[in-house]
């Protein structure tokens, strides 16, 4: 096969896979996206190989589908949309290039998982900004490129956080570095000059990284990211705030965000909290029954010259704010679940099985952005929807994550399901695909995976028009993950 | 100084736009934040202090010549000094002086506004700015028993000024002033029909030559009558006598007092006492010429020098007039001491007060524009909840009254002396 020979020439024989089993594995995921088998899977080990691949793809008109996390995938973005595609699996590019304690930044390749990343940072006295308990195979670069929210809204200044600079090979084959990494000088020279690739803006009058982020691999392939880290706290005080309804918690959440109080701040319903904290499916059910319907998890971290004082004043202020909202922050819930245990769980990737699959073996998500004050109506709508479609409300996990310093809120519903139960899966599919109901209520699907992309670009044709123009600039031959988004 | 002498200021104006706004430290929000009437109305940048610097720079570097539009920019300015003060909260520059030089340059070049030419014709022929007959000037005092200082000597002159002398609705201001002063036991006199214009308004219209003869004549008359103290109700006259005469090298050897200063003094000395209550919610409008423009002239004759490489200084050191010492307190003290009067301040007050709109010849050259400005101010006054706006200048009162008449607003316009009289 000519294609395989050419690919072998570029990245070596052992990194080109086309056995049926592998191709099958890369042709489907946990989403409702139609399976399409790639023609080949390649595993480059360095950026020059990626660049050569992209040049080759341009010459041959071959679609490339980048993947960085290990299976299972959930969003359909790594499944080819057309036949004849080559999957570029970046898992072998897994170096942690640099950890800079002084400037609170690290530089990593796409294959690095959260587990590896956390361990490397820890040695230097840093900690990662975590999305909510990612699966163990999740690539840090993948998570950040997909704008997954982090659990600490106070450190989330911009939807692109904690992503800083990147090296990207655009669809046209040009190797580019964004932000202050762009130049002048090689990375080594930049480090010499005390630069650490921490300014995300630019270079010049374009924020290139924003175009790549959220693009589901349609603009180019990222070969490293520099990411914002936080200093590992010297002490941390965490609380669980129980409530019957989401509404009851919002006053405290808003107050904390308004005055930039605390670090972690997220709301989980009993189902999700149980899934995260329970060992297995049987424990999920017991724990869930013992938990209040909704729990706000908050923490205050101490770092810097006076960590104890920092925590002390924050705890005090949080307690006052909670009291003003008729709430009580608890170190442990009556069922015995302690806030510190939750904090520990949130500080690392998920144990196996992945918490979302713990209850019923599978899970499908519905998520979008809104503002904190509007979240209750969406929660209600979700349960109404489930009821109308005959889906058990008991199997719905709720995760509310304030983002961008509390100016917006990520709303996520985790529909726990059994993939062997066809009837149930049909209901779940119906719920996921019918997300228009949320859009009509003002939800913003900023990360349109699978069937959502049709929905959102039809709703906002102007944006689609302009995104298509952007696509012609960075990937003129449309070889990068074609068929996704509006391309 | 000629226009070209201000070129350094033109070049060094960095266009920070502070000339358009109330000083930020005073926390202007969305409403009533603009301090310059000209750009408030016309919007194009050239209608601001900085804009006039920039077009003047274009003019002195031969990038532009006189055009109708350029003259429109030059003459649609009240010369109210707001940009001057707000600029000088930050800079060592003299926008007002540049604007005056610009007008003078226009006049010298015959780049004139017809309406102002008429006013000047009247001034030359009849010694007043009102295009009225000189012979009628003393009519306001008919029937008043008051000393004629052209015939006998006296220490205190009440100088009515053109506006108050000829404007029938304002003549009461002068009559009331005389009556109040007399009640306070002041031996006050007037010039009657022999009074001539102070020359101040023509100076700000660009006809800076005219003030030469008026100042000479007035000084001679003051001297002849043995006057030691001039009291004026008109802020323009106040500014002329106190500031402009000094500026052109004819500093009067006489105390110049605005009626508000004098009344405040008389109250302090116990010579004026208020016995009646005047129940009224008022707000006070600072006339430009009494407020920010009313502080003493500080003569300076020197050169620019540089130290520390390029730091621009002056030799001898120049003291800038920044509006700090204008007459702001006296009128407020009077209002506060009148029983029943409740004073609520507007947003734009004191050195960053908003002009009434009448200044700089605008009341003659573009009455509609003048009225627009007055209406802006009236809107602001009304937000304080006041029933009346009190001012201390005939020109302000005229313009506000016209605006109120046009809009049918219920807001009353008073000269401060009227409230004083009611309270005695």
């Amino acid at each position: 096969m000519a294609q395989k020979d050419e690919l072998t020439k570029i990245i070596g024989k052992k990194n080109v896979l086309d056995d049926q089993k592998t191709l099958d594995a890369y042709s489907r995921d946990e989403s409702f996206v139609i399976p399409v088998r790639p023609s080949c899977v390649v595993k480059p080990t360095k950026n020059t190989e990626v660049q050569a691949l992209i040049k080759w793809a341009n010459e041959t008109g071959t679609p490339l589908v980048p993947v960085s996390s290990g299976a299972p995938h959930y969003r359909g973005d790594t499944i080819p949309a057309t036949g004849g595609a080559v999957v570029v699996d970046l898992s072998k590019m897994n170096k942690i290039i640099r950890v800079d304690r002084r400037n609170r930044v690290a530089m990593i390749e796409p294959g690095v998982t959260f587990g590896e990343f956390i361990a490397a940072l820890d040695k230097e006295g840093l900690a990662a900004h975590m999305p909510l308990v990612p699966r163990s195979t999740k690539s840090v670069v993948g998570s950040y490129l997909e704008r997954e929210p982090i659990t600490m809204p106070r450190h989330h200044w911009d939807p692109q956080d904690p992503l800083l600079c990147m090296e990207v090979i655009f669809g046209d084959g040009h190797l580019f570095m964004t932000g202050s990494a762009a130049g002048p000088g090689t990375l080594a020279q930049q480090w010499e000059n005390k630069r650490a690739q921490i300014r995300p803006m630019g270079p010049a009058q374009t924020d290139f990284q924003r175009v790549v982020q959220g693009s589901q691999g349609t603009m180019g392939i990222v070969t490293w990211l520099s990411v914002k880290c936080r200093v590992k706290p010297e002490l941390k005080k965490s609380f669980l705030v129980p409530a019957k309804k989401v509404e009851d918690l919002l006053g405290l959440v808003q107050k904390m965000q308004k005055v930039l109080l605390g670090d972690d701040c997220l709301i989980l319903n009993s189902h999700n909290l149980a899934c995260i904290m329970a060992k297995d499916s049987s424990e999920v059910a017991t724990l869930k029954d013992a938990l209040p319907p909704y729990v706000l998890f908050i923490s205050a971290e101490g770092r810097g010259v006076s960590p104890e004082d920092k925590v002390a004043y924050q705890v005090n202020d949080i307690k006052i704010a909670a009291q003003a909202n008729g709430l009580i922050p608890l170190e442990a819930l009556p069922c015995g679940l302690s806030a510190d245990d939750v904090a520990a769980a949130l500080a690392k990737p998920s144990d196996e099985p992945y918490w979302k699959n713990k209850a019923k073996g599978a899970c499908r998500d519905i998520f979008f952005l809104t503002t904190i004050d509007r979240t209750p109506k969406f929660v209600k709508a979700m349960f109404d929807q489930a009821e109308s479609k005959g889906f058990s409300p008991n199997d719905i996990g709720v995760y509310l994550q304030p983002t961008v310093n509390g100016t917006s809120c990520h709303v996520e519903f985790n529909l726990n399901c059994d993939s062997n139960n066809k009837a149930e899966m049909a209901k779940v599919k119906g719920l996921v695909n019918d997300s228009l109901v949320f859009a009509n209520m003002g939800a913003f699907f900023s990360r349109p995976y699978g069937s959502w992309s049709d929905m959102v670009y039809r709703r906002d044709g102007e944006t689609a028009t302009f995104l298509k123009k952007v696509k012609t600039i960075f990937d003129p031959n449309k070889i990068m993950n074609p068929g996704k988004l509006c391309f | 100084m000629a226009l070209i002498d201000w070129k350094a200021d033109m070049v060094r104006c960095e266009r920070c736009s502070n000339c358009k706004w109330v000083p930020w430290q005073k926390g202007p929000g969305l409403e009533f934040a603009q301090v310059c009437p000209s750009i408030s109305k016309h919007n194009f940048h050239a209608y601001s202090g900085a804009g006039r610097y920039h077009s003047s720079l274009a003019y002195v570097t031969d990038k532009i010549g006189y055009t109708e539009g350029w003259l429109d920019i030059i003459y649609h300015c009240q010369m109210c000094g707001a940009c001057d003060i707000t600029c000088k909260t930050n800079r060592d520059m003299e926008p007002q002086e540049m604007l005056l030089a610009l007008r003078a340059q226009c006049v010298e070049d015959g780049q004139l506004v017809p309406a102002l030419m008429d006013v000047m014709e009247g001034l030359k022929a009849e010694d007043n700015m009102m295009q009225s007959k000189k012979a009628d000037r003393g009519n306001w005092a008919k029937g008043l028993k008051v000393k004629d200082l052209t015939k006998e000597k006296g220490e205190v002159l009440y100088f009515a000024g053109c506006r108050i002398s000829f404007d029938k609705e304002l003549q009461k201001v002068a009559r009331t002033a005389i009556s109040v002063l007399k009640k306070a036991g002041v031996d006050v006199g007037i010039f009657g029909k022999e009074e001539a214009c102070c020359g101040g308004r023509s100076y700000e219209m660009g006809y800076q030559g005219e003030i030469e003869s008026f100042s000479e004549n007035n000084a001679a008359m003051f001297k002849a009558a043995g006057i030691k103290k001039i009291v004026v109700s008109c802020s323009d006259c106040y500014h002329s006598f106190k500031v402009l005469y000094h500026k052109i090298g004819r500093k009067l050897d006489i105390e110049v007092l605005h009626i508000t200063e004098y009344i405040a003094q008389l109250i302090k000395e116990g010579k004026l006492k208020f016995s009646k209550s005047v129940p009224l919610r008022v707000t006070y409008h600072d006339p430009c010429h009494l407020g920010r423009l009313g502080e003493d002239w500080i003569p300076w004759n020197g050169v620019e020098k540089k130290v520390m490489g390029q730091l621009v200084l002056h030799d001898p050191p120049k003291v800038f007039r920044r509006g700090k010492y204008g007459i702001y307190d006296a009128p407020r003290e009077i209002l506060r001491s009148i029983p029943g009067v409740k004073l609520t301040e507007m947003k734009r007050i004191e050195e960053y007060s908003f002009c009434c709109g009448a200044g700089g010849g605008c009341i003659d050259s573009d009455p509609d524009y003048s009225l627009w400005v007055a209406k802006e101010r009236i809107t602001e006054a009304k937000t304080t909840g006041a029933e009346a706006m009190v001012t201390a200048c005939g020109w302000c009162e005229r313009n506000f009254s016209d605006a109120v008449n046009e809009t049918g607003d219920a807001l009353k316009i008073y000269d401060i002396i009227e409230l004083v009289e009611q309270a005695i």
Partner: protein, 525 residues
Amino acid sequence: MALTREAYRALEDIVGPENISEEPANMAGYAYVFMVQPYMQSPAEEYFMPAWPEAALLPGCTEEVQAIQRVCNKYGIKSHAFGTGWFPGSLAGSPNTITLDMRRMNRIVEIDEKNMIAVIEPYVAVGQLHVECIKKGLRPHVIGPGPTTSSLASHAACCGMGPSSINTSHSSRNILGVEWVLSTGELLKMGSLGQSGEWFSADGPGPSLRGIMRGYMGSFGALGTFTRIAIKLYPWPGPTKHESTGRSPCYDPIIPERMSSYICSWKSWDDMHEAQYMITEAEMTYSGDRAVAAWHGAMMTESNQEFYELWQKGILQKNAFAFGIILGGHSDGEIEYQEKCLKAILEKTGGWIDEELEKVPHAVGSNYWWHLWGGEIIKGIFRGTGSFFCAATGDDTIDNACFGSYLGDTLMKPYIDKGLFLQEVHNVWGSNLYEQATIGSHHEPLYQYDPFDLESTKAAIKLGFDSVGAAITEGVGLGFFENAGEMAHTMTSPHAHDFHKYMKKIKRVFDPNTASDPMGYCEPE
């Protein structure tokens, strides 16, 4: 080349005769700003922009801006939106360009207290917005140039860092919603606004067009006009009103309870930068940035003369390396924490708060105004000579800013020795720390030249040019002046992955008829 009568009438029909002008004297007002010569590398004796606008328009609403753009495309005219015009990039710079003065679009559409979002039009001044926001316990990001500048312009189209950046970031990072009239006249509502009519997020769906809209620097009108934007707001611990005492020229603030204002000094750049690492890591300031004491000296005095006399006393020299701070706590505990940290950091790094300096009238007050909203900047930066420019800026780490400061000193020294710039006050500004320095630290080694003095101006022009070269050869990075406009790009782009080539494509694709002035951005491909 004047507009054709047909084109003029078409424009006039849109905005009305009172809102359009071709008057040369009016155009002069849109062709002048400080630092034109070094920024444009134009002759020292040429005070104005090389090209004057053909006309200036005052559009009143988004629809008018769209209609204007369509006329521009039809008749081959370029437009350039103008906010408050306080930077050469905001002025029209190409032939056959009209200026859109956005002055009439001056509404605060909404301040959403709950979600900390303000929606504003172009001519809302930073100062006005600040005053309206604090009524609701919030504050907007402010930029160094201070209260008179357009908040929308700095956020959407220019560049914006300032003394509060330590807690309010860089202007480009605060954008939540955008209504954008593209050069073609099409209207783009970004993010949630386009999808659901809400203003809370401008990123996505999918890739973020914010990246095209602007970068570190804005597009300076080259990609169209922003008619409304939503920005993120930040906490305000003080009362609902700014209060001050005194009269022109110095108004002393009444510093609110649980807030304080300090000027801290160190004996070297290195010590100060060490302290900056601690300050940002402890997250203990409300506002704070580096500004040598000479700059503070200019801000606290009423005139150049007074500044000079203060300089003669030697207090400022003693505190050459200064960092101004406002602390502000929402609770007694928070302010106590901040005060304690400050004390500890000063102790650890050999810093001090000079009592003599604090006793100078207006010292504490001017530092407060500066950090509050960029106030007193005019005294600090312009009163001395009238203009300034920068030697080799560049934003990355605090250490890099320190390195840049030394580089700036070296670059400026020969000129300062010859008396061509304001002496000793060099390197006055910089080290705005974005987001507690987690995304970098701005520094501007700033030199003040006299635009009325030809030799001084020529030196400014030359150093301005050389500085871009030095930023490349010395590797300090590309900052403020190295990042905007065709001329800078030509020098820097080859050293930064040819970013220019993509920008040229963006310009072509988004503005196919070049109906927006490319001057502050780049020429199309």
